[in-house]
Structure formats: structure tokens, C-alpha cells
Point group: C2
Chain length 348, copies 2
DNA sequence: CTTTAGCACTCTTCTGGGCCAAGTGCTATC
DNA sequence: GATAGCACTTGGCCCAGAAGAGTGCTAAAG
């Protein structure tokens, strides 16, 4: 990374102007255009000199010798650092968002609406993910016999997620057996994380050698049938607004690849979890997604962890074109992340 | 519709050849090409005469005076009638499909996998919809108190669909109240359709003027909070494989519109329900979707009702380009429709 | 009456040249 | 350091011409 420090106030101003012009026009910006729009009457020649420096420093590129300049990933990163935390969300967006999210009652619904509203207010796809099992405290399980060997399991976690699943067992358990089992689990493990519960049940089942212990047998059967799985990943990953990514310049082949990736929601989840970690507090902007996934060239990710109190319950993000309204999107993401805590805390 | 009857065996043969060539090449097909590929050594001139007749009869069109011919919607309809029921599904597809769908346990999961596998074996998007409430017989409800004024409702229908929902009530019901209510519903209404149940509850609540009847009050509260809603439409509409629709020829603007429509799953549901009715038995092919939705120009719908026994439980379909492998897709859709009955019947 | 061969005609697509606009880099000047 | 001037590069656009594909029509052959 050459000469990052070289950026003085004049350079910064011009760089910002170039980026903003490019974002709104989509075309390489030349010195002439810039000098005309810039309020300080700098001449094209001057600007050319500065531009030349900026190319040197790695902030700009030229598609070919005699075209204007285009911002590099480095430039976007710099730009985002500059503007971060500067803007407020427009009142209309604010009310759109809060009206949509008002009155949601569990995390799944919240996230679903979040992905939708994000795709509306941004020019990208809205993504929202509920973080899976391992961080969720068990609230309550319920088993209900549906027929011979057939059981409906409902697992509710503290965060408000509800997982239901119908399973076939190898043996037939009566509703009484099931109630005994669920009472046992609820009485012993309420508040534990689901993963811990599963591990502990496995241990106790193993320990209780006695084949005569009916309860343990039921538990074993239920455990093995996957009754406590909170996986079912697709159910808790919401991706909306892919049509926003269809823009004229895009080449068909890549677009197709991109859509395919976005449809494999697990891959989107991977992407988010790679870049959004629990520690970090605020909105994170990742420029240069093509390093992780080549079909995501020219896309950026703007994401934030979704917390309630200290606990991370999921993530939300916008995946959109490098040429996007950063201020706006960042503010929107951050606004929703805050709402998340607020709305779900009062439901606790 | 002019001179439909005019089609003799020779015309039919040539028409079929044109359609198949066009489907595989995507370009207007000319008399020369056709004469070369056709086994009977017909000369281009002869073919031209026939083509001329076919244009007259409304089966072919020419993009411009000196281009080859392109099949019209009428031609595709004719073609589909000709080939229907002719082919068998390739063994590899057969096993892909049955392996994917084997072991599904409720309709939701079945449909989700169906939409996925359909998008894989066809060149279009796979769609699967569970028909909502009104035809579903109630199996079982369960209410569970989650906190002050907060109740989890689980509604299970005979078809294996599970609807869960967390609601806020205006009054606080104890778990005992809830159990009384659910027992009452299960005892009185098991086997009714959900809609009937709702109507009947409303009636009884209305009738039981006595404000002292605790049970009726609970029921009223639960009913009004929407505990019995089996709506939540998005949850039961599965659309997969949109990337299949990104093809070179497509214009960006229309593509964008199309994706937007496909993301509004309710609109897709509308489309299916408009064309697939309960009466009809087998696979239905709808050519000319643009009449219903202009953005769906050049798309066809190949769908079938999903029944178990006599009862319609949903629909499945492929929405793909007019230029698709009809034989293959029709066979696949029909194969899955049959599997549906078979797999879910044995789980009954 | 059907089929075929021949031929002139139409229309699209591809190609190459020339022109223009935009933008650059360099140098000389203020 | 900023500016003005100037020669140079490059992609986009327009146009004309050639090539290719296909048609319709007519006349002849089966």
C-alpha cells in the first residue's frame, strides 16, 4: 500500500468529489467535468495533477489511457471512513422502517421484514440472518404425538425463535411418554443453550445404562431423531431484493452466477459470518467482496450484528453495488440494528 | 383462428421439426437448414411452400421479410398436444427426484424440496405452493404461555402443515386457561376445516352472551388475536432457480421486472391459482403468460395440482422460457405430482 | 397437382474507415 | 504551486459497402 499518508485536504476534497460524481453518473470522471462542477474554480490542469498523484497513491484507476478516472476499492474504503456517522436517515425512510418493524413479535418475523425493508431503502439486496442454535437459551420444548411413531417437536428459545419439526421415531412413544420427556427437559435445562442441552442429554442417556429406564429410552429416541435440532438453516436466512442487482452494465454470465449464489442462502450466511463478528459494535462496510467470491465483483457488504443487550442474535446487511449511496445505506443499517435491540427488549 | 384443420401429416412433420430446431438453436429457422437436417430429402423450395401455408394458418411468424420462421404460441400449444404423454423420465432424473423427496415428512418440506428439484431438472424456476387454509382439516392445536400476555399457538393440520405463531393478547391467560381452550377446540373441532372452525368459534363466542364464561372469553381473545390464522402466505410458497431465467437475449429492464414479480411470491401464487384448478387431473401447460403478466413474455407455465387422494393440497409448477424441453419438463412435473400422492399417503 | 430448380430481391449483420469528443501528459508561463 | 496551451491517444458513432441468409415467384419436371 503505497503512500497512504500523502493525502492532504485538497486531495481529499477532489477524491471525494470524484467518488461522488462517479457514484451518481457511473462513468469515468475527467478533469474537465470536475473543474466545472467544483465550486472552487480550480482549473482542469490543476485537477489533473492531483489526479495523477491519486493514481500514484492507489486511489484511482483509468480504464484506458484517455478516459477519466475511476475510484479503486481503496478509495471507497477511504471515502467510507470519511463520511461515517455523518448523516441522519431521512424522515420518510425512518417512518417506513419503523412502521414495518413495529409490532413484530419474534426474531424470525423481525428479520424477514428487515430483509425486505432493507431491499426497499437501499439499492441492493437486503439480508437478515438469525444466528443459529449455539447462542440460544432454551425456553421450552413441547412434544406432541401425531400418529404411530410420529411426533411433532416444538423448540422455543429465549430469543423468541420457534423451531418445529415432525419426526418419525423407531419406536412408538405415547403422549404420556412424551410429556414426561418434555417435562424432564423443561425442568432440568431451561435457560441452557440448546447445544449444551443436547450434549448433556447425550451424556445422561449414555450414563443411564439401565435399559429399563423408560424415560431415558424416550429421551434417547427423541435425541437421535433430531427433535432438538435448531438447524434448518434456510428457514432463518432471509434474502430479498435481488432484482435490485440487475443493472444495465452487468454482464449476463456473471449476473447468473451471482443470482445462483444468492439463492444458496447458506453461502450468503457464510459471507456474513466471515465478515461480521460478535465483538464489533457498529456497522461494518466491506469493500472488495470479490476476494471471497469472484462473482461478487463490484459489490460491497454493509452489515451489522443484531443484538439484544449484549447477546448477538443475528446479523443484518445490505449487499449492493460499489456505486451506492453509502451514507444512506449505512445509516439505514445502523438504524435498524438499533431498533432491533429496542423493539425486542421491550418484548422480553 | 384461421384454418386449424389444414394440418396434414407433412405439415405436422415440418412444423415439429421447425419447433424443435428453434428450441435448440434459438434462431429463426430457414428452409435451407431444415431441408438439410430433414431425413426425407425435401428441397428447400417445397419446405418454403409448406412454411408459407403454416404462416397462413397462424403457426409461424417471420421477424422480418428475409429471416427464417419462428413458432407462434399457437404452434407451441399444438406441439405440446402432439407430444403429451410420449416420453419417460430419464433414470438419472428419476433417481435425483425420488432421492430428494424421499423421507420428507410434512408438506412444507416436500414442497420446498420440490421447488428446488424442479429448478434443477428444468431450465426454469421451480414453484411449489401449499394451498392455504380453507381446504385443510384441523388435526390439533396447542397453546403455550410464553410470558405475560404472550402465547405461542401451534396449529397442525391433517395434511401435515404446521403453523406456529407468537401472539400478544389483551388479557393475560394462564396456561390452564390455554389448555382448557385447546382441549375444547381439539375435542369439538378435530377434522373440521380450519376456516369452518374459525367461523364456528366466532358464532359460539357470539352466542354465549354470558360474560362470566371464562372459556368463551379465552376463546374470544385467542380468536381475535389471530391464533388460528393459517395464512402467513410467504411461508408456504417456494420459488427457486430464478437464475435459470437469466439468458443472453433477455433485455435488462424486463429481467428486472420479472425478478421483482417472482420475489413477490403472492403474485406467483395468483398466477398458479389462475391456471391450475382443482378439477383438472394432469399436467397443464400454459403458453402465453404475457396475457396475465406482461413481464412474463416468452415464458410458459407447466404445472399440476398436488393431491393426496382426492384432496388438493397444493400446486407445483415450472415457469420457464417458451424455448424449453417440453417433454422433459412435463414428464418431471407429472412424475413429482404422482410421487406427492404416493409419499404422503403412506405417511397418513 | 406436387415438387423442384433458378433467380432476383430484401433485409440484417459485419466490417472498416473516417470523424468527433473527451481526456490525458507534458511543457512553458504566470 | 497554479494555469494555459498543445499535441497525442482512444473509444464511440456514423456510414457505406459487402456478405450471408432467406424469401417469393416463375417455370419446368415428375
Amino acid at each position: 500500500m503505497p503512500n497512504q499518508g500523502q493525502i492532504g485536504p485538497r486531495e481529499r476534497e477532489i477524491l471525494t468529489a470524484i467518488i461522488e460524481t462517479y457514484i451518481s453518473s457511473g462513468e469515468p470522471v475527467g478533469s474537465r467535468t470536475l473543474s466545472r462542477q467544483n465550486k472552487d474554480g480550480l482549473s482542469p490542469a490543476t485537477i489533473r495533477n492531483v489526479m495523477s498523484d491519486l493514481v500514484e497513491a492507489g486511489f484511482l484507476e483509468q480504464p484506458h489511457t484517455s478516459a477519466g478516472r475511476v475510484p479503486t476499492a481503496q478509495a471507497y474504503r477511504y471515502y467510507v471512513d470519511q463520511i461515517s456517522g455523518k448523516a441522519l436517515l431521512s424522515p420518510s425512510d425512518q417512518s417506513l422502517i419503523s412502521e414495518t418493524l413495529q409490532g413484530t413479535v419474534d426474531i424470525q418475523q423481525f428479520l424477514e421484514r428487515t430483509s425486505h425493508v432493507l431491499s426497499l431503502v437501499s439499492s441492493g439486496v437486503g439480508v437478515a440472518i438469525a444466528s443459529s442454535g449455539f447462542e440460544n437459551a432454551l425456553e421450552h420444548v413441547h412434544f406432541s404425538r401425531q400418529g404411530p411413531n410420529k411426533v411433532l417437536a416444538v423448540v422455543v428459545t429465549r430469543s423468541g425463535m420457534v423451531h418445529d419439526r415432525i419426526m418419525r421415531l423407531h419406536i412408538d412413544l405415547s403422549q404420556t411418554d412424551l410429556d414426561t420427556a418434555s417435562n424432564y427437559i423443561n425442568a432440568n435445562f431451561r435457560g441452557w443453550t440448546v447445544d449444551k442441552v443436547k450434549a448433556e442429554i447425550a451424556r445422561r442417556v449414555e450414563d443411564a445404562r439401565s435399559e429399563y429406564d423408560h424415560l431415558m429410552q424416550s429421551l434417547k429416541e427423541l435425541y437421535e431423531s433430531g427433535a432438538l435440532a435448531t438447524g434448518e438453516p434456510a428457514k432463518n436466512i432471509f434474502v430479498e431484493g435481488v432484482s435490485n442487482l440487475v443493472v444495465k452494465e452487468e454482464d449476463h454470465e456473471r449476473l447468473r452466477e451471482l443470482l445462483k449464489t444468492l439463492e444458496e442462502k447458506e453461502r450468503v450466511a457464510e459471507l456474513l459470518s466471515a465478515y461480521l463478528d460478535t465483538k464489533q459494535e457498529a456497522v461494518r462496510v466491506v469493500i472488495g467482496l470479490e476476494e471471497a467470491m469472484p462473482e461478487m465483483r463490484n459489490l460491497v457488504l454493509i452489515g451489522a450484528p443484531a443484538r439484544v443487550g449484549e447477546e448477538m442474535r443475528g446479523s443484518l446487511a445490505v449487499i449492493g453495488p460499489t456505486r451506492m449511496d453509502y451514507q444512506h445505506t449505512i445509516t439505514a443499517v445502523s438504524y435498524i440494528a438499533q431498533l432491533f435491540d429496542k423493539l425486542l427488549n421491550e418484548n422480553a
